[in-house]
């Protein structure tokens, strides 16, 4: 009976969650600009930017300036454990980076880089980089008080 007791306890004890810190993206130089849900692709994303990028995204009439850096981090969308009615980010799929350079007297240059979270794995078959750049750098900042 005494031997059985711990077994009984473990059966009734609550299931502790398996934490996934590897799903967390962290770059202390960047702040959130906005977020995108795409149920067609089954993804959810956050667009981050450095200070010049955040300032441009907050200004509807603002033009891009030299040194802006954007990162769009995309995760797989999955149902939230413990709450039917919400989907949340699961594992990370990719990080897209756009660096802007605009030297005096020269044309603005958008440098795009696509990095899948797992090498040899792309979550989209074809990626038109100019379209991606336009989308990422053109997103207005989400309103945050």
């Amino acid at each position: 009976m005494i031997a059985l007791f711990p077994a009984l306890l473990s059966c009734s004890s609550k299931k502790t969650p398996e934490l996934a810190p590897e799903y967390i993206f962290n770059d202390p130089n960047l702040k959130v600009i906005s977020s995108v849900i795409n149920r067609k692709e089954g993804t959810i994303a956050v667009i981050y930017g450095n200070t010049p990028a955040v300032n441009t995204a907050n200004d509807a009439t603002g033009e891009h300036v030299d040194g802006e850096e954007f990162k769009m981090v995309t995760w797989k969308l999955k149902p939230m454990p413990n709450w039917y009615g919400t989907d949340m980010n699961g594992r990370m799929l990719s990080v897209e980076t756009v660096d802007i350079s605009k030297k005096t007297g020269e044309n603005i240059v958008f440098k795009y880089h696509y990095e899948p979270a797992v090498k040899q794995e792309s979550h989209v078959k074809t990626r038109d980089s100019s379209k991606r750049v336009a989308f990422i750098v053109g997103l207005p900042a989400a309103v945050m008080p």
Partner: protein, 315 residues
């Protein structure tokens, strides 16, 4: 040979008889379940109503009908306590008293409580096995909540830029908003780390959840319960209409919610302090501190094993 004869022990008989008499008298003194009249009963499709009546009405309505064994002491005290508690959470006979938005939140919470087998209570099911909700009945409840207005809500209003933000800093002329729970608004979360990002169907919103350094470190070190000083901030927006590629962007800012871990200060709410600031003017939510009890009740019911938080990254 002597015949073995059963000789009643007089002392034993006396004690037994006394106990029975006391027990019978006690039955007259137990609590009585009083059913008030219906005042705005819940109005749902008949297949949903049938499930609620079978499995929820005994406690969550003014139509409680305790069986004879529910009325026996001391069970009657437990039954009376459960009914009082259940009616305080929501009363299906007085449903119309609850604001429409809150009704939707409660309906989704009901589905989740059933899915996670937290409701009906196991002690109730043990004596009322017919009240159990089958998988097909749960599917009916799920189908129903997915027809609620919040499920497909699109924010089509022009996006209001906060009048309180300048150069990324929050400037509020009336001073810093402070929740009745003692939590002051601060925009320092903007330099924290994003913990999770969510698409919420119930209510129709999208959210970004931040964690402060203590919270992120605890997650990396697999430290649950979370230590004092851990904080989470959730920023909530409406959802704009989906574009041709399937992208959905944040609409208007709705509110920002705080959870602050302080096991001493917030002992009555499992160590977590709650605050919510509504709209661009960040009006603190809650007229009394009791609002935090409503928060923790749901967190306690569904994520007690997560130290009462939903929005953490898990496999």
């Amino acid at each position: 040979m002597r015949k073995l004869r059963y000789k009643p022990n007089k002392k034993f008989l006396f004690i037994s008889a006394s106990l029975i008499i006391i027990y019978v008298i006690l039955q007259l003194t137990g609590p009585e379940v009083i059913n008030k009249p219906h005042e705005g009963e819940i109005n749902v499709p008949s297949n949903v109503s049938a499930i609620l009546r079978k499995s929820c009405y005994d406690c969550h309505s003014n139509q409680s009908d305790p069986t004879w064994y529910d009325k026996m002491m001391p069970a009657s005290y437990l039954v009376s306590h459960d009914i009082t508690e259940a009616r305080s959470r929501f009363n299906l006979s007085e449903w119309s008293k609850i604001p429409s938005g809150q009704q939707q939140v409660l309906l989704w919470e009901m589905v989740n409580a059933v899915e996670q087998k937290k409701m009906p209570l196991s002690r109730y099911l043990a004596v009322h096995p017919n009240a159990a909700i089958s998988p097909s009945e749960l599917a009916i409840l799920k189908d129903y909540v997915n027809t609620l207005p919040g499920r497909s809500k699109v924010d089509t209003a022009k996006i209001t830029r906060s009048p309180y933000v300048s150069d990324g800093k929050t400037l509020i002329s009336t001073g810093t908003p402070v929740s009745i729970t003692g939590i002051a608004y601060s925009d320092s979360y903007k330099s924290w780390t994003v913990l999770s990002v969510t698409d919420k169907f119930d209510g129709g919103s999208m959210r970004i959840v931040y964690g402060n350094e203590i919270m992120i470190k605890a997650i990396k070190n697999n430290q649950i319960p979370f230590p004092d000083g851990a904080q989470m901030v959730k920023v909530v927006w409406g959802k704009q209409r989906e574009d041709a590629e399937g992208n959905v962007l944040p609409g208007n800012f709705q509110n920002v919610q705080f959870m602050v871990k302080d096991s001493k200060k917030y002992k009555s709410t499992e160590g977590w302090g709650f605050a919510k600031f509504d709209g661009p003017d960040l009006k603190p939510f809650g007229k009394t501190v009791a609002f935090a009890t409503t928060c923790i009740n749901c967190h306690k019911l569904l994520v007690a094993e997560n130290d009462f938080v939903f929005n953490i990254p898990t496999k």
